[in-house]
Amino acid sequence: MVEMESAPAAGMRVYVAVWAGLLLIVGVEVALTYAHLPTSTLLYALLALALTEAGLGVMYFMHLKYERRALFWSLIPALIFVFIMMNQFWSDAYRLRSLHQ
């Protein structure tokens, strides 16, 4: 069986720190939910925190930080582009809302 060299990954100490950070972010998310923020402010705050969690998870837990940069640049920009393109439908959602009001 052919095996590739494993990328040098972080140790368990780093993983535990990231895990604790992720738990802390979840706590912040719940606190923000009950801080009576406007809905749009809450949404943007939760999205920013979720993206931070995803970034930490992908880079450390999934080891993308320790892989060749070619892998990152081949995968992540394409995915971000897809998500950006999905945003073009919001105007139609607001049109639908105005029809029902």
Binding site: V26, A93, R97
Partner: protein, 209 residues
């Protein structure tokens, strides 16, 4: 093994270029699957946002107790399962086969706990009159469809992950699979965890009373 050595190891002395990404093919394929699956969950979450914005009578049914608290526990369980998965990968890569199998078992167990908490929540919602097409609180019936659709697809991923973890643990213990298989399975498991990092705030917290 270096890439040139690997090229020779492919047999017949043929010179084959190494991967431009420096990873083996199963890991690359898992990454491609993850990107495609991320787009699927992204589309579902965008669809949920679309219906929510388009529905002026959207309701926020979730109280802190039991739903949000239960969601917090589920999140902590899933995050912890990622940590045990990392321990399994680390043990497998350093040749500690028995420890790797134990950590894989712990990860699968945490996955089962997550699924059990999720199903308990679902059955409580069913008992309260919720379903994918009914809303006992009045307002848009689309809430049930989006909630059960998104969380159901994620739960399906968790259950598939638990099965994969158990299969890989058994095969790894018998020596039929190696550390790279454990690492590839770990990629999938971490992805399932990361999807939940979007589902919990967007589907649970944004619907908290």
């Amino acid at each position: 093994m270096s890439e040139s050595e690997m090229s020779l190891a492919l047999g017949h002395g043929a010179l084959v270029e190494g991967s431009p990404f420096g990873i083996d093919s199963k890991k690359l394929v898992m990454w491609l699957f993850i990107v495609a699956d991320a787009a699927t969950f992204g589309a579902l979450l965008f669809g949920y946002g679309y219906l929510r914005v388009g529905s002026p009578n959207w309701i926020r049914p979730f109280g802190f107790i039991p739903t949000i608290l239960n969601g917090m526990v589920m999140t902590a369980v899933l995050l912890t399962s990622s940590l045990t998965m990392l321990a399994a990968v680390s043990a497998a890569q350093t040749g500690r086969r028995a420890a790797a199998v134990r950590w894989l078992g712990a990860t699968a167990l945490l996955g089962m706990v997550f699924a059990a908490l999720h199903l308990r929540e679902w059955f409580n919602l069913f008992a309260d009159g919720w379903s994918p097409s009914t809303n006992p609180m009045g307002g848009s019936v689309l809430f049930g469809g989006t909630f059960f659709g998104i969380t159901g697809l994620h739960l399906l991923h968790v259950l598939c992950g638990v099965i994969a973890l158990l299969v890989v643990a058994l095969a790894f213990r018998r020596g039929r699979l190696d550390a790279s298989h454990v690492e590839t399975t770990g990629l999938y498991w971490h992805f399932v965890d990361l999807v939940w990092m979007f589902v919990f705030p967007l589907v649970y917290l944004m619907n908290a009373r």
